[in-house]
Structures are given as C-alpha cells and as structure tokens.
C-alpha cells in the first residue's frame, strides 16, 4: 500500500449547506413556472442578476488605467477603501472618526469581516482566552453566524430571543430579558438593519432600550451590516442603529459587506470597522489584526476594494451609486406592497401586514415546514424551510403565481 493512502479514509461526508442545496434543486427542476425565492442576491424584474451601472462604469475605468497594477495590497487592505467604507457606516461627520478612534480592516466580504472580528475577540477581548465567553446570535439568524464564531474557537454560541413567531414581529421583552441575564462581557451579534432572515428590525425606541441594557451590563456590541442602503433605500437611515451606539460611547465592531449594496457578490468586498476608546487602542488592535490576517489570507483582494473606493471617493460616481442602490431597494418595496395586496385581495387566511412591515431582502412569511414543502414539491416555488423568502425572486411576471400558490398552500396545508 503506497504511503499515506489511508489519510482520507476516515473523512466523513458533510451535509451540504441548505441554501446552496436549495439553489441546486431549483436548477434541476424542469417546471417552467418555477420560482427561486432562496439565495440572497438581487434580481431585476426580468429575474436576472444586475451589475450596477456605476460598477460597469468604474470597471471600464480600471481596465483602461495603465497605471494600475496587480501588486499586493497592505495586510489591512486598501487605505482609501477602508476609510471611505467606515465613513459609509459611521457617517461623514462621525465624532468617532473626527476623534481618530476608528480603524478598519479590509476583509473578504461580510463573512471575512465577521471572521476577523471573531478571531480577534477570541484572542484579545476579555483576558487572553475567550473560548468560554458566550457569543449571542439572534434566534433566528443567518446560519453562518454560528459557524463563524464556533470555528474561531468560541465554545458557547447561544441564541438570544428575537423573532416572535406568533405575533410575527420582534420579541422585544424576550430580547431585553436575554440581555439582562447574559453573563457580563458576553458578545452580542446585532443586525444593523434588514435582519436576516426575518426582515424585522427594532424601532429607534427599541434600539435605545437595547443599548441601555448593553451599556449597563457591559456587553460587547458586534454589528453585522450587510444591507446598508438596501433596506430603506437610504444609507443614513439604514445606519441609524450603528451610529446611535457610537453616540452612546460604545467600543464596538461593525462587519460591513458590499456584496448586496454594490452587487459585488463574487469580488468579496468587506470591511471590519473598529470603534475604540482612542487612537492608541486602535493602533494596537490593528497591529494584532495584522497577525490574524497574515495567517489567513496575508492581504485581501484588490479588484473589488478598488472599485468601491473609486466610487465612494468620486462625487458623481457616489451619487450614481446611491441612485442604483435606491433602484434596488425600491423594486423590493414594490414587490412587498404587491404581494401583500394580492394576498389580501385573495382573502388568504391570516394577516399579511408583516410582508410590508418587514424590511430588506428577506421576508419571514410565517409558512411552516409542511407548507414550505408543499410550495416546493407541488408548485416549484423554492424557499427556505424556515419560511424565508427572498423578495428579489419576485417579479411582476411571477407574483400572481406566487400569491396564488401561497393562498392555496395556506388553505390546503396545515
């Protein structure tokens, strides 16, 4: 037997990630009426991916610019990207930026930013070894949150109450209750806006209550901001929670993704914004971030960051981008309004206001697993077992079919 033949013999088959399996099943479905309400990527009213016009423009600029090359970026990434990305999250006039206590690490998408933040926290947060420090993620949350923190070495990743299935809204009392009883110094992953998967965000008032408890109980704030601009169509509105926490004096992390709001999914453009007490703390934190980056990817990819930096730092392009973002957000809002109206017109049992009250790409329909299975098997409409739908999968051409199917499902399947 040749050497090392047995190395992989014991490697077990892993279960596939649900959201990708759903896409696969959709692809293989021969039904011409099929609709994919699964993966979280924007689609036009023709059901097509959309490369933002401003992105096409800037790409041409980059390809044509012979002064640009493919040299390594610094470990922490492209400086112009990092600072402009943080400005987007915190606001141009952020006191934290003016006081020089904001740092950033360019990362591979929102996932990469969460990963860097998690790895740093595990090493440096509360003492030198945080494997037992509890990390709280919302119930439910983006399924990869659990894996990111678990793989970074956190042994205790727990849910905090968030979604109230009965009233189809935020379980504020439960949320605040978990904040009150969490061990001191616990880390909380908060969705900055457009909560994934429920689409349900706290109101401003509710955020202030969350902040009050977190400050009093010394809990760590880790924002996940994957949809800024995409939720309401307005960048500043969508950043309200993040900026409010800054005014309240929190030191915090904010993982930003430019996958959705720039449509740059596959270029992996993300930023970990760090708000600290002062510049000296930022300096030391960044020096340790470098060590973690170095053993993971050495330095981040340049294309996407370049594109975003040029856009954010050029007035006309920035304006065009904001416009493109509004286009996407507006279409989602239109689909929400449409779906809700149609379900109401059909007299579908139950209340459907949550469809228009929820915000962002996703809606937690409230369909149960049996109903979801029916939708997939009988109607070729693909959605997550949780009942989550991607509003972007809806178009003016398929919305009638989807509305009728939901109606039929709710009536026939309990």
């Amino acid at each position: 037997m040749p050497a090392s033949r047995h190395f992989c013999q014991k490697v077990p088959q892993a279960t596939p990630v649900a959201v990708f399996k759903l896409s696969n099943d959709f692809k293989e479905d021969p039904n011409p009426m099929k609709v994919n309400l699964g993966v979280g990527a924007y689609r036009t009213d023709e059901g097509q991916p959309w490369v933002l016009p401003v992105v096409k423009k800037v790409e041409k600029l980059i390809v044509a610019d012979n002064r640009l090359n493919h040299e390594y970026l610094p470990i922490l990434g492209l400086p112009e990207f990092r600072s402009s990305a943080s400005k987007i999250a915190l606001g141009e006039d952020s006191p934290a930026i003016q006081e020089n206590r904001v740092g950033a690490v360019q990362c591979l998408g929102g996932t990469g930013a969460l990963k860097m933040g998690a790895e740093f926290l595990r090493r440096w947060y509360n003492g030198n070894d945080n494997m037992k420090t509890p990390v709280y993620v919302s119930a439910p949350t983006w399924e990869n949150h659990n894996s990111v923190f678990a793989n970074a070495g956190f042994e205790d990743v727990r849910p905090y109450k968030y979604w109230d299935a009965e009233k189809r809204g935020l379980d504020l009392a439960g949320f605040l209750g978990d904040l009150e009883t969490a061990p001191k110094h616990s880390i909380f992953v908060l969705h900055a806006c457009a909560h994934n998967p429920t689409g349900t965000d706290p109101t401003h008032m509710e955020w202030t209550q969350v902040a009050e408890v977190m400050k009093r109980r010394k809990l760590f704030v880790f924002f996940d901001s994957a949809y800024q601009g995409f939720a309401s169509g307005c960048l500043d509105k969508d950043a309200w929670a993040v900026r409010y926490f800054v005014t309240q004096g929190f030191e915090m992390f904010c993982a930003q993704s430019f996958s959705k709001n720039f449509g740059l999914y596959n270029e992996r453009v993300g930023n970990l914004t760090i708000v600290a007490r002062d510049a000296d703390n930022v300096r030391r934190v960044l020096s340790q971030m470098e060590k973690i980056v170095r053993v993971t990817w050495s330095n981040p990819p340049s294309q996407g960051a370049r594109l975003v930096a040029i856009t954010l730092n050029t007035a006309e392009l920035f304006a065009e981008w904001k416009d493109n973002v509004k286009t996407m957000a507006d279409r989602v809002l239109l689909m929400r309004a449409s779906l809700q109206a149609k379900l109401q017109a059909l007299g579908t049992p139950g209340t459907w206001d949550h469809i228009t009250q929820q915000i962002g790409m996703f809606s937690f329909t409230g369909l149960n697993p049996k109903q979801v299975e029916y939708m997939i098997k009988e109607r070729s409409i693909y959605l997550m077992a949780s009942g989550r739908i991607n509003m972007c999968g809806l178009t003016t051409k398929n919305i009638d079919y989807v509305a009728k199917s939901i109606h039929e499902t709710v009536v026939n399947v309990q």
Partner: protein, 416 residues
C-alpha cells in the same frame, strides 16, 4: 424623539477600554521590510524584501497575457454572482492540470479535489486546518530549516506542532542532503512533511532530481504525509513542467499528497489572491467526502473566493494563444533573474571580494540566501538603504542592471 436625542449631551466617556490589554504586535518580518523601505528617503534605496517581481527598470510588471485576458473578460460583460464555495470550476480544473500535467493518472481517474483559495497563504491555511481536523494520526508538521517565515504561524494557528528537518547547509550555501535524509529517517510515521516543490523560499536551494527520488523513497518508507508548497511553478527554471517534476514524481510513486499552489508570482496576480489547494485521494468517492469537508472549512472563513484573479488565470490557462504568451513571459522573468544572479556574482568579484559567491548562481528562483549575518544585513540597510530580511535573504527580482553594481558594492563593504 429622534431630535431630542441629538441634544442630549453624550455620556461621560469611560476611561477604560476593552483593548487596554492588547499588546502592540511586532511588525511582520517580511512585509514589515517593505513598510520600512517606503519610509526611507535615500534615492539609492533598494527593496529586496518581498518576493514581488520587478522588471529591469525596477517597476512592477503586469504580464501582457494578463492584460489581454482582462480585455477579453471585460468584453464578455459577466455577472457578479457568488462563486461556489470551492471556487471557479474553469480555474480549479486548469490549476490542477498545470500542476499535475496532462498525463496525470490522478486527473484521469478524478481522484483529486482542487479548490480555489486566497492565493498561497489561503491555501496553506485551508490545508493546515484540514489536516488539523482530519489527520488525527499526527499533530507534527516538519518544515525544512529554514522555511518561509509565514509557514510556522499558519500551522501553529491551526493547532499543529512545528518541527524541523535539516535542509540548508550554511557551510556550502547548498542542500544538506544527508542531513535531510537522516532527519526524515527519524520522523515518526504519519507525520506531515512540508516540501517546497521548486525555488525553495528563502534559500533558493532545490534538491536535484536524483535526490528527490531518494527523498520520495524514504518518505514512503516512513509513511509520511506529504504537503507540497508550490508557489513558483515556472519561475524557477522558466519551464513549468520541469518545476512541477518533484510533485509529479511523488504522485507517480503513490504518495497521496496535499498541494498548495499560488499564481501570485508566475502570473503576477499578487493582489488578486489566486491560489489552489489540492488533495489527492484514493478514489472519486473519497473526493466527494473530502470536498464536502473543505467546503465546511471555507464557508466560515470567507464563504466563497474572489472572482477576478481566478477568472484571469482561467482565461490564460484555457486560451491557447494566451497560454503560449504566458509561457514565454514566465520564461522571460526567470531568465532575467538568472542574468541578475550572474551579474551580481561577477560584480562581487570585480569589487575584489575574496568570498565564494558561487551559490548566488547555483541557487534558483526569486530568492538568494546570501549568507549575510544579521549584523551585516543591518549595516547593509542602515548604510546603503538596501532592504532585505534579517536571515540574509534577498529577492533577486528586485535587482536590476541599473542597481546590481551598487548592491555588489554594498555587500562587499559589509563582508570584507
């Protein structure tokens, strides 16, 4: 309510920080050199730190095949949808083909899994973590002494134990073949042995084919798990097949290796982060299981890899005209470095140095292990603004016909 909040004075800033206990990290030994170089104002300064190729004017070199590939890609107006976790299929297939060769039995039987990674570092990170998770038989990774500085923290961070085997002989500035064999013969079974496929970093010292054969035999006898790091295919000899010879030989001999590849240097795609990680499995069934676990590893790090660089590399590898141009350009880069080696050795002689500088010519690839001691390196940096790593490693790619004389002068000054 919102307006009211704006006028409430901010709460007193608490004096303590979460990060009070965070120490200042030391600068990266390799990348830190570039940062120091940037701060230097001397007009004669030379950056011989990072292994990034420079043309004979000391400028970064964007390959023509890369520019052509970019134009082609731009004209296709592709979308930006997420890649699969394992990356771009066109890229991973051609990446494996490049390393293993068209005749590869492994490719024909489909018993390799190759995933796209974030260049070489990302590949090593995935590999180290994969071994840590699934190679329960041993925690030990043997690196050649010396090895690329970043190998150690990558494996350590993945939970592996670092050990070393003799490799570089300072007395000859060459390969310590007997020392290596001796150390390998004592490695416990199932240990992981890291081998640099070609153009060893930092020494530039590679085993000869006959020596590789003996190493392969001994490694098989010891039942070791082979981890090849191939970051310079094409860059060493100028010939991609020659540079992949060791990798292919080991596979032919029955080693189920794991392999990291980088396209940073040989395609000049440094900042695009293009790499691959390959596991050679027993059969196609094993491939499925291993692939599923690699995806589980990748997803919580960055979900899926970046498109741009992989698309460029795939276009070059899969378009015959561009592939031809690429082979020529890689050959050109390797040749310029060989020429610089010759010129450096010649210049040192004409400076009057009495030391033996043959190793400068014998060593291969981007780096030269000069043999300079740390104090000499420090002087070279302080007095001549020549930047290199403390171990005496210089990147020949940073040497030009315009500055090779100055470099020889400096080296002679600190070694006479």
């Amino acid at each position: 309510m919102y307006l009211l909040l704006l006028f409430v004075s901010p709460p007193p800033i608490c004096c303590s920080s979460w990060w009070g206990g965070v120490q200042m990290g030391p600068p990266d030994p390799i990348l830190g050199v570039s940062e120091a170089f940037k701060r230097d104002t001397s007009p004669k300064k030379m950056n011989l730190g990072v292994g990034a190729y420079r043309d004979d004017h000391g400028k970064p070199f964007v390959l023509d095949c890369v520019r052509k590939a970019e134009a082609l890609i731009s004209s296709k107006q592709l979308d930006k949808e997420y890649l699969a976790i394992g990356g771009l299929g066109d890229f991973t297939k051609s990446c494996a083909l490049l390393a293993l060769g068209a005749d590869s039995e492994v490719l024909k039987s489909g018993r390799n899994i190759t995933v796209q990674t974030i260049s070489g570092t990302g590949s090593l990170c995935i590999g180290a973590n994969f071994l840590s998770r699934f190679h329960s038989a041993s925690r030990d990774v043997y690196l050649p002494k010396p090895s690329w500085g970043n190998h150690t923290p990558i494996f350590r961070d993945a939970g592996m134990q670092l050990k070393a085997y003799r490799y570089y002989d300072p007395s000859t500035c060459g390969f310590d073949f007997n020392g290596a064999l001796d150390d390998i013969s004592k490695m416990p079974e199932k240990s992981v042995i890291m081998l640099h496929a070609c153009a060893h970093n930092p020494t530039g010292v590679d085993p000869k084919p006959e020596q590789w054969k003996e190493i392969a035999d001994l490694v098989k006898k010891r039942d070791l798990l082979v981890f090849f790091d191939m970051a310079y295919q094409g860059f060493a000899s100028g010939d991609i097949d020659r540079d992949a010879w060791a990798v292919r030989h080991f596979i032919e001999q029955g080693h189920n290796i794991v392999l990291s590849q980088s396209f940073a240097k040989n395609m000049g795609l440094y900042g695009e982060r293009v790499g691959g990680f390959t596991v050679v499995c027993n059969d196609a069934e094993e491939v499925k299981r291993v692939e599923s676990q690699l995806k589980i590893l990748i997803r919580p790090i960055y979900s899926n890899p970046p498109m741009n660089g992989a698309r460029i590399a795939a276009t070059i590898l899969n378009t015959p005209d561009l592939y031809k141009i690429w082979l020529g350009e890689v050959h050109g880069m390797a040749n310029r470095i060989i020429k610089m080696r010759e010129q450096l050795a010649a210049n040192l002689k004409s400076e009057g140095s009495t030391h033996n500088w043959q190793h400068v010519i014998d060593q291969i690839g981007m780096f030269c292990f000069t043999g300079l001691k740390p104090e000499q390196v420090e002087r070279l940096t302080k007095e001549f603004s020549v930047y290199m790593t403390k171990d005496g490693r210089i990147s020949m790619a940073g040497v030009t016909s315009g500055n090779v004389g100055y470099l020889a002068h400096g080296i002679h000054a600190v070694t006479k």
